[in-house]
């Protein structure tokens, strides 16, 4: 048993941490994260140059990573730096393109010249494929909702039902759709994608397993991002408690606050543990169970840490100007992405009962 990362992973994690600390401060982040196009194409190119996208797929598929731990070290740093670039969208797209041997697209995304997004959810379908209503064919019609990274994608991977009752994966050029982009409340972009008899290229007519695997990679990424955010919040809360004086002393002297800091610090260690376990299971048979367990725990720990961080900062934690507020907001909202904590619990219970 060894809980140390490999040299390669430490290097990518260090260089990403340095890059974000130097090039992506909170003020700048908030400027791009809330104004169209809700990300920065030049930063995206630099991240690609750093090899961040290549780390998300295996060597066989054209990258140089692709393991669960490759994904988690990258997203932990993206969390620590509160990066609003559409990395989640492109992670899932990369995994799908790789799964179906679309090496041209894989190369394009890894190189930073193209971006893609997974258009899967609908108004009443937010976590499982079974809820999806859109039907597939040469032309697609209907709406895909809250498509992460849909604001900045060149290609959309659309999930729709085939005539044979399977889940098909189709590629649509973003330019052919009506794309209504917006900022998310925690920064970064998403879009409503409206398809109206839009031309689509069939990539696979039986893609459910690959889509679920890509969604699980996305869930793992969100969990790791949460751990990076939580580490950051613990450190800022700790510093703030030592700095802030009330009643003539640092509020860190008050046990009511000390014990709450300890309690959420313990939950952060638990969160880190479950992400390590889930990372080790991304290619295992029981992947879905472990990913769902991780995201359930992350949802609970994240809510605790985010709410406590805001509360323990007092009024300052309520302000737009203060960076930790945005971390807390992101930590809260990522629970809603790809199935929230209750939804993951349903998955775990179904899988355990099966």
């Amino acid at each position: 048993m060894d809980f140390n990362h490999t040299e390669d992973r430490r290097m990518i994690s260090d260089s990403l941490r340095r890059y974000l600390a130097e090039q992506y401060d909170n003020e700048y982040r908030n400027k791009i994260a809330y104004e169209a196009p809700y990300h920065d194409a030049s930063k995206w190119a630099e991240l690609a140059e750093l090899g961040i996208l290549g780390a998300l797929v295996s060597e066989a598929d054209g990258g140089f990573g692709g393991d669960g731990f490759d994904i988690s070290v990258v997203f932990e740093e993206l969390g620590r730096g509160l990066c609003a670039e559409p990395m989640l969208a492109n992670l899932m797209a990369l995994r799908l393109y790789a799964a179906f041997g679309q090496s041209e697209r894989v190369d394009g995304i890894i190189g930073g010249s193209e971006r893609a997004a997974l258009a899967v959810w609908e108004t009443d379908a937010f976590s499982t494929l079974d809820d999806i209503a859109m039907t597939g064919g040469d032309k697609l019609s209907g709406r895909k909702t809250v498509v992460y990274g849909g604001n900045s994608a060149d290609h959309l991977l659309v999930v729709a039902r085939t005539a044979a009752g399977k889940f098909g994966l189709y590629e649509v050029a973003a330019a052919d759709t009506e794309t209504l982009s917006y900022a998310m409340i925690d920064g970064g972009g998403a879009a409503e994608i409206v398809l109206d008899n839009t031309s689509a290229k069939l990539i696979s007519d039986d893609a459910a397993d690959a889509i679920n695997a890509a969604l699980d990679a996305g869930r793992l990424a969100l969990c790791a991002e949460a751990v990076g955010i939580m580490d950051m919040l613990r450190d800022t809360v700790k510093d703030y408690l030592m700095q802030r004086q009330q009643f003539g002393r640092p509020i860190a002297m008050f046990q009511a606050l000390q014990h709450r800091l300890v309690d959420f610090s313990i939950e952060i260690e638990q969160a880190r543990s479950i992400v390590i376990l889930a990372s080790s299971k991304l290619d295992a048979k029981d992947r879905a169970l472990h990913i769902a367990r991780a995201k359930n725990l992350i949802g609970r720990a994240g809510k605790l840490v985010a709410e406590e961080a805001i509360q323990m900062h007092g009024g300052i934690g309520m302000t737009w100007e203060y960076a930790p507020s945005h971390y807390a907001k992101r930590l809260t909202m990522l629970d809603a992405q790809l199935g929230d904590t209750e939804d993951q619990l349903r998955t775990v219970m179904e899988l355990e009962h099966a």
Binding site: D2, Q258, S265
Partner: protein
């Protein structure tokens, strides 16, 4: 990152499993499964069985009769022990006094005392807490005054677990009132049959008898029974608190309790369906299961050497006991009104309203409220972590 055990570790696990299969008496396994009390003979029998392989004192080196296991081996043993429903080892001799003597004892103390712990000649108990010194242990008042070659001890200890079985007691006593309270404490060994000692039982809320008050009136103890230097007792006590304690998170315990809970939920019915199919109840079980899964990794991570030792064992203690208590609570509630009867021979036998393995669930729940109180309450653990968070 590699979460797999090595082939050697897996072989060790198989060896432990086989040993338990061949040597664990069925009556003891049943008592563990059903949450029943052990007699002194039960525990002595189990200790003797383990010592046939030198497995009793898990943390001791080979030269002193231990197995010389590393932290991972101890973890594996603890996991297998729990899964087999084998009793835990009573820690006061092998887990507490042993490591103290190995670190602070004289050669003579090691040579005379350690073998008697291993062969069961001496049952040790602990004299730390006092009525006025619980979380604030350093304020203890039991006085030991030097008189020639002896100390004379006067005072009172409390919460002495299984003192009713003990031959000996190790105590923290005040040998000086100068300076800070921590600086005047000594660690001393006392024969329980010395004149002037009186042991009185304290009955616990669930009805059981496992702790005692111990009164000392002019108890004369040879000065040679001092461990370490005079006034070094606090250092020794702190060493014990932060000394690597593989089992402190109780992962094995909780794993076993959770298996029992899930199998119970399959037997019990609510509204015509097994409780195991009730989403409201099972969602709680599942979340505890997820917490325990994370705890298992947290425990292994911390054993493999991350973080400051005090913080590590305190974190493991807090979260580990919270999880164990949550499982106890669910097991009690799973029974509904069948948890109500006070455990007695009738209720556990022919009048049973609950499955036999669950008849003691409410009692176990109440008894295990102790987990977050003893060994340094969870609030004290939070203070320890706070110190390291802000100073470290």
């Amino acid at each position: 990152m590699d979460l797999n055990f090595t082939p050697e570790e897996e072989a060790f696990r198989a060896e432990v499993r086989q040993f338990l299969k061949d040597n664990l008496p069925e009556e003891l396994a049943t008592k563990v499964r059903n949450g029943l009390e052990f007699t002194k003979q039960d525990i002595e029998q189990w200790h003797a069985i383990l010592q046939t392989r030198n497995w009793l004192a898990a943390t001791w080196p080979v030269e002193h009769g231990g197995p010389g296991w590393n932290a991972t081996q101890r973890h594996i043993f603890d996991e297998e022990r729990s899964l087999a429903n084998a009793p835990t080892v009573v820690p006061f001799g092998v887990g507490m006094l042993g490591p103290v003597l190995l670190k602070f004892g004289t050669e003579e103390q090691k040579a005379t005392i350690l073998p008697r712990i291993l062969d069961g000649t001496d049952w040790w108990c602990q004299g730390y807490s006092e009525p006025g010194a619980g979380s604030d242990l350093a304020s203890l008042k039991t006085r030991a005054i030097r008189d020639g070659d002896d100390y004379i001890i006067n005072g009172q200890k409390t919460w002495t677990t299984l003192g009713q079985h003990a031959d000996k007691i190790f105590c923290l006593v005040r040998t000086s009132t100068e300076g800070k309270p921590q600086e005047g404490i000594s660690f001393i060994l006392v024969d329980i049959n010395t004149p002037g000692i009186e042991m009185r039982p304290i009955r616990l809320l669930e009805g059981g008898y496992e702790v005692n008050e111990v009164f000392f009136t002019d108890v004369r103890v040879p000065a040679a029974n001092l461990v370490g230097e005079e006034n070094q007792g606090w250092t020794i006590a702190k060493y014990l608190l932060t000394h690597e304690r593989t089992g402190i998170a109780g992962v094995g315990y909780s794993t076993q309790a959770l298996i029992e809970l899930k199998s119970l939920a399959k037997k019990l019915k609510r509204r015509g369906k097994p409780l195991a199919e009730d989403p409201i109840f099972m969602s709680k079980v599942t979340e505890v299961e997820i917490d325990l899964e994370a705890m298992r990794i947290t425990n292994l991570r911390m054993l493999s050497g991350g973080g400051a030792m005090g913080t590590v064992s305190s974190m493991l203690k807090i979260k580990g006991t919270v999880i164990r208590q949550a499982i106890n609570d669910l097991a009690r509630r799973a029974l509904g009104p069948a948890a109500c009867p006070f455990p007695s021979e009738d209720v556990l036998g022919n009048l049973a309203v609950a499955p036999p393995e669950a008849a003691n669930n409410a009692a176990s729940y109440f008894n295990n409220r102790k987990l977050s109180i003893f060994g340094g309450s969870n609030e004290i653990q939070r203070n320890i972590i706070t110190k390291e968070l802000f100073m470290g």
